[in-house]
């Protein structure tokens, strides 16, 4: 594959930046010469939206995924994944987690969280590849809390045959980038994700 563009989205604390770093390192391990990432943080720790780009391959120079160009959007939180849908290419994959974090505005004004099944069925008529994974509550020795990023990554590597980075490169990156006492947890979550089947395909 000459170029691949990933967009990861979520809320502060879900590990958006970490998963992006894992992907960046893994892409280089997989042999891609040009790897460029971009992220906007700032108030992530205060529950804000976080989005990050990982782009690699020929002709990649800037840090931002252009409109309609993402090969995959990884939404660690359901609504955050939807937020960037205009960057997804027509045959790109939309991978959403079932994690749902209402915004403060929704809580204060008592607005219901969007019905995921309705949104998904509409999306399926517009995009070829829409997936929902139950990354929260995935059976995992350490519990899945805070490890959804690794679980979803495992699911993607296992499920998408055209994903350009393989299991081994990702595992090696996880080992390189994780604090020692967290390596086992992260790898186990990644493995648990690899066994995950999508709820909706």
């Amino acid at each position: 594959m000459d170029k691949y563009e990933i967009l990861v989205a979520g809320v502060g604390g879900q590990g958006v930046i970490f998963i992006s770093n894992v992907l960046g390192y893994a892409a280089q391990r997989a042999g891609y010469k040009r790897v460029v990432g971009g992220e906007i943080h700032g108030l992530a720790q205060r529950g804000g939206s976080v989005a990050s780009y990982v782009r690699f391959g020929e002709g990649v120079y800037g840090p931002i995924v252009p409109l309609g160009c993402a090969d995959i959007i990884i939404g660690l939180e359901f609504m955050e994944g939807l937020r960037h849908i205009n960057r997804l290419s027509k045959n790109g994959a939309l991978v959403l987690s079932n994690v749902r974090v209402p915004t403060m505005g929704m809580m204060v004004n008592n607005l219901a969280y969007p019905n995921s099944l309705n949104v998904l069925s509409k999306l399926q008529t517009l995009f070829d590849r829409v997936f929902l994974f139950e990354s929260r509550n995935t059976p995992c020795h350490f519990g899945s809390l805070g490890l959804e990023n690794m679980i979803l990554l495992g699911a993607i590597v296992n499920h998408f045959l055209d994903f350009p980075i393989g299991e081994e490169d990702i595992q090696e990156s996880i080992k390189t980038l994780t604090k020692k006492n967290m390596v086992e947890r992260n790898l186990e979550a990644f493995q648990a994700g690899m066994k995950l089947r999508p709820l909706i395909t």
């Binding site: 280089q28 790897v35 931002i64 609504m79 403060m104 509409k122």
Partner: protein
Amino acid sequence: MSAETIAMASPGTEGYVLGNEAVARGAIESGVWFVACYPGTPSSEISDTLCKLSGEFGYEFEYSANEIVATEAAAGVALFGGKSMVIFKGAGFFVASDALFHLVLGRLCGPMVIVACDDPSMHSSSDEVDLRMLAQAGSIITLVPSNVTDAKEMTIEAFKLSELMRVPVLIRMSTRLCHQRGFIKLGDIPKRRDNRMDWDLLKGKWERFVPMGGDPVRGEMLKSIEVIRRTKNIFEDNKLNKLVRAKSDIGILTCGVTYGYSQEAIKLLDIEASMLNVGTIYPLPEKLLKEFIQELKTLIVVEELRPYLESYIRALAKDVKPDLQIFGKWNGYFPQAFEYDTTIVMNSISKAMNINVPMEYKEIEKRTDFVKEFTFPRDPVFCPGCPHRATFYAVKKVTKDKAIITQDVGCYSIGLTPPFKMGDIVLCMGGSIGVACGISYFNDRPIIGFIGDSTFFHAGLPGLINAVHNQADFTLIILDNGTTGMTGFQPHPGNDSRGRERLAKKIDIENIVKAIGVEDIKVVDSYNIKELMDATSDAIAFRGVSVIISRRACSIISRRENQRKGLKVVAYQIDSNKCEGCWLCIEKFGCPAIERDGEVVKILSESCNGCSVCAQICPFNAIFKEDTNGQI
């Protein structure tokens, strides 16, 4: 992990780092002696990385009280032969500019590099001032990197150039470069030495720097013009400017991150164009630019913020290439505001060249627009247990939205958003005080200013002195959470640490306020609603400047402390028999640890940090601590 990547000493290794971290590595490879900063997004990772590594590489690091004292300290080091760096965000440059604009008239004996970060699209700022224009206004030599590799290399070049020219050199970054990641090759790090000023070495080089008005400073002014002329010559033929000629009479001129976007855009549009990316942004390489446009019929200028390059090139072209067709901001082909990306650049070039964009944007919009209905904006919120939330809640209870609220720059700006919506003015660092002072001369409503502890030290002191001296009448609430919260928990003068567990002299806010002459001072616990409300009522009744210090540690910090010590926070719970579903704790208090659960509310025990404030405000006493069986 990132600071560790930067610390890897082995040259030739590659690290996947942020643009900010690349700058930090460049400073270390240059053998910097002294680094000073005031933290500010998007610059923070430069200084945080350099703080973490200062022990390992043996340079001095200072989180300064504000940007101008940081600049003065760095100037002191460089004037006497040391290597210094000073770091801040764009707005910090404004604060530092008094020192910087004068410093260019001096003769440094060692190099001094300024790193300042613009924020196009204002992701975490409230201005789009273009630092390139300010650098030009102040005759500050300026480099603009365009990617992560550049960021490190230009930092090293900046130290060399500053040493050669004996004036400070500015590296102007921008958000998308600060927070861009890429692989950089790590270079050699000089051997650790004991950095001391050496008067023998300085002999014949050091001279007094006293550019006082009149003839002395006029002489310095002429010398500084000569420095810029010599620098311009160096820039004419310099690897910091990248020229790629194509077999085409179309040229594209770029600066910073727009270089990458433009490379992608012409590839997607499938057109041939010569490209010149200007890295030496002040002084501009006049000859190089002239040569570049000489062979062109069409020039497209791609730059964020102000038309800095464009104005210059239009002036040049008038003499050397009058028939050159130029497309940029002047004639409306490129947007005036906000950051660019490949999509914007591609669209603008296609408009200028009258060619089709290979993307069906209408299609994309049609396909994805409906999603907007399902995506609500996610503004930052006060964390569970944030002491600011309780303070805003109590003040709102007392003032009932009848007070004029002047706000300041920090986490407490979140008080502007629902559910509190408190704040009529946010002007600048320290602005809460000066603005309140002005309003108070002509107004009889209660005026309440909110300022954080770090911001108070940064820019609040002169304002408060001024207000007390001039007998203004308002209440200032100093939200003292013991840290510079919004930018990542850097220490400030109110802490007993100066970063990396080095001890510091703690400056006591209460004593300062007292010494300034404030006659009504109250120190309250931010977790005590009654205390806060009483203090607010009293302070409003007081004629003159009154100060409430609302004090509690930032809840992110206390949570981390607890984790480190292995202490478990006991969360609060809802007694669903008592909860009447009045929603006050959600709709008026807005703690993210509290959620609706059918007809009642529930507390997410993994998010709750046990601050107890929701229990204090619940009208039905339905909130209790998990292990106390309903007793608070």
